[in-house]
Symmetry: C2
Subunit: 461 residues, 2 copies
Amino acid sequence: MIDNAVAAAETALETYSELPPVKIAGFLERIADEIVALDDALIATAMAETALTTDRLSGERMRTVNQLRLFADVARKGEWKDVRVDAALPDRKPMRRPDLRRTLMPIGPVAVWAASNFPLAFSVAGGDTASALAAGCPVILKAHPGHPRTSALVASAIARAVEACALPPGVFSLIEGANPKVSLELVRHSGVKAGAFTGSLRAGRALFDAAAARPEPIPFFAEMGSANPVFLLAEALAQRGDAIAEGLAQSVNLGVGQFCTCPGLVVGIASRALDRLSEKLRVLFAHTREGTMLTPGIAAAYCDALAHIAKIDGIQVTSGEGKGAVATLFETSAPTFLRNPELRHEVFGPSTILIRCDSHAEVEKVARSLEGSLTATLHGTEADLRAHPALLKILTRKAGRMIFNGFPTGVEVCAAMHHGGPYPSTTDPRFTSVGTAAIVRFARPICYQDFPAEFLPSELR
Amino acid sequence: MIDNAVAAAETALETYSELPPVKIAGFLERIADEIVALDDALIATAMAETALTTDRLSGERMRTVNQLRLFADVARKGEWKDVRVDAALPDRKPMRRPDLRRTLMPIGPVAVWAASNFPLAFSVAGGDTASALAAGCPVILKAHPGHPRTSALVASAIARAVEACALPPGVFSLIEGANPKVSLELVRHSGVKAGAFTGSLRAGRALFDAAAARPEPIPFFAEMGSANPVFLLAEALAQRGDAIAEGLAQSVNLGVGQFCTCPGLVVGIASRALDRLSEKLRVLFAHTREGTMLTPGIAAAYCDALAHIAKIDGIQVTSGEGKGAVATLFETSAPTFLRNPELRHEVFGPSTILIRCDSHAEVEKVARSLEGSLTATLHGTEADLRAHPALLKILTRKAGRMIFNGFPTGVEVCAAMHHGGPYPSTTDPRFTSVGTAAIVRFARPICYQDFPAEFLPSELR
């Protein structure tokens, strides 16, 4: 199955990689149109498989479609190829400089692993697929076993677009299978030249390790766990504590806490204002309706994580009971947090840990102890930031996106977005999986020296 | 020793990474000036340690100094940071778009391994060091044991520049040691955030593997072995066979064959013209003076490789005797080449293998069988290229730089250069170690959401 898909991708590469940008753009737009045409059936199917709401899934479909159209635009414009030309200097001494022209070419067939938590936007025709196809790479998509019928529907939309655009069928293949062996076989296949993954640290790291250990190592982009710490500075907390609590409760519980940017740690200095925020959070969490998680396995893992944390000495469960997909608030002191490194890891689900520090120095100590994260958030006034310049610096070393007076959930798909960060949030902090810059993951430079224009890629002529 | 160097680099990072671009540029230019000031002593020392000629070393020093000045310019201009701004859309429905601004920030302390074959340009203050420093990263330099006194001299020049620019001393440290354990300890150090290496496949792969296996994997750029195949098409061979032979003999023997772009494979269709080229090559190789290789170890490895190839059934040694640093020409048939995969690997030294094919289809078969390479060269007329469009396509999948009617040695340091290629020529074909694009290896994106201008990096305000 994998051999066939990769062989078809290799064959497709020969024509697909040479397609004019306008044709690649047309293909991506056609996929978008075919997804729109799936209409209510797609939403109903995804709802039945993931327990996500109609609103959420409609929004996610819009994002998926817009993302495809955005990458169509990127492909059409071609600026992402970062063309560089150094014309010949025939009279240079001691020797002439040759004519050198550099562009980017598709890296080859790309394997993409669909995520559980975005059955559309990070799945079959999600951002990784869109950016790889836009770069000129055929895609072999490993479907997520959590939503097989949704995957099949979207794959059928892509298949119709492939046919309508008269492309070789191997430009896109869907692989199924819940056994990790399938994924390992795919990442180890010599015909696969890059991989992109969104999911757990354990699975992402196993695939990254397999990619690096190949006879020919390949780039492997895994977006994994992220704690997304939120720091509350004194003036902001005093001025807007209730609003911050409301925003936090909403951000933690959005989509039953199943976002990679769910804020899992909240840090502040012990004060009346922090007590008040804590009380407010408890009430808000207690009033949050119990959700249904994406799969029974994810729900079970969430409960296990809650039970594990609840047992740690010095941890209080102040909202929730440590079972079911219930919004859960933990509270603890900085020393307890610093003593228990496991508290730094992401918990996938609607929970967060409020950490009380006794001084700003302790806040910075907590910040320094954090693992890499997709985001870090600061709530403060400008005076707060001025009073504590070191904290911002510490956090920029820990995260890919810095947020001021906002919340980490809600990831814009645009040119300036960076959805990536130091390990373990990703395996390579230099790349984003969201936004137009995601395309460069799947291309490599090629330099032509002294070739006549006729034989150059069109953008180099 | 390593702990101290890395700790000093981490301390230096705090100030060095925040230095205004003009200060970083001034530092790089000061290093260039200090290297120039070393004057004849540097050339004499390098000559004594490497057996390279004065001319070659003077040229290499010029390249090193120009490279530092080029990266100073890159740092000063700041365009490499690929700044992206998506301004807020406060009235967007259903929710406002935040203000998003993305730039690149230094990845952290970088470990650089100096090469044996470029005691200046790929060594202590070579391209990797220059590009990492330009990106705002402190450098820990693992010196090559082949030229310790040259390394110490250049390190002293850097130290003077560090002092003159009042930078923290940890911005540059030199580590010595011939034991591979030193290198492994360095690449595994948690404070090191990226590595760059130029050398053998064995050493490069061992360090790459160690970098990928760390608890926090880091990007590791190894530039290793490359066969640099040269393809001779019929019309060009008939029209310019003698000139091609002369160019080839010169390119193979330049610097006693100790260039990563030394052409190690020559492929053509059996013909009178190819016989004539072979005869001419034999004469030119026989008249090439025996050189002294960089180190006794390198000379011994070269002799071993020659002896190994000479023993393969179907290989003829048509110039050279398979001992000493003697220009050596092997000749063989395509079937013999295809049957012996070891013939595809780089031999570090002045030798090349001429492969006779009986048809163009066999030429393409040889091309398809090749490993990844830094370069691939075609000698042909435009009619030749038109007659065989598939060959160019096959070769672009195998190499990072395509050369038309030229020779692979002589790597320009400029914006359009790509000195990289598919494995095993490098561990990641998406990056170059020569030219201005080398700087992006040592930076990662950071996105600021809704921050007031005062707290943004200057390029984002």
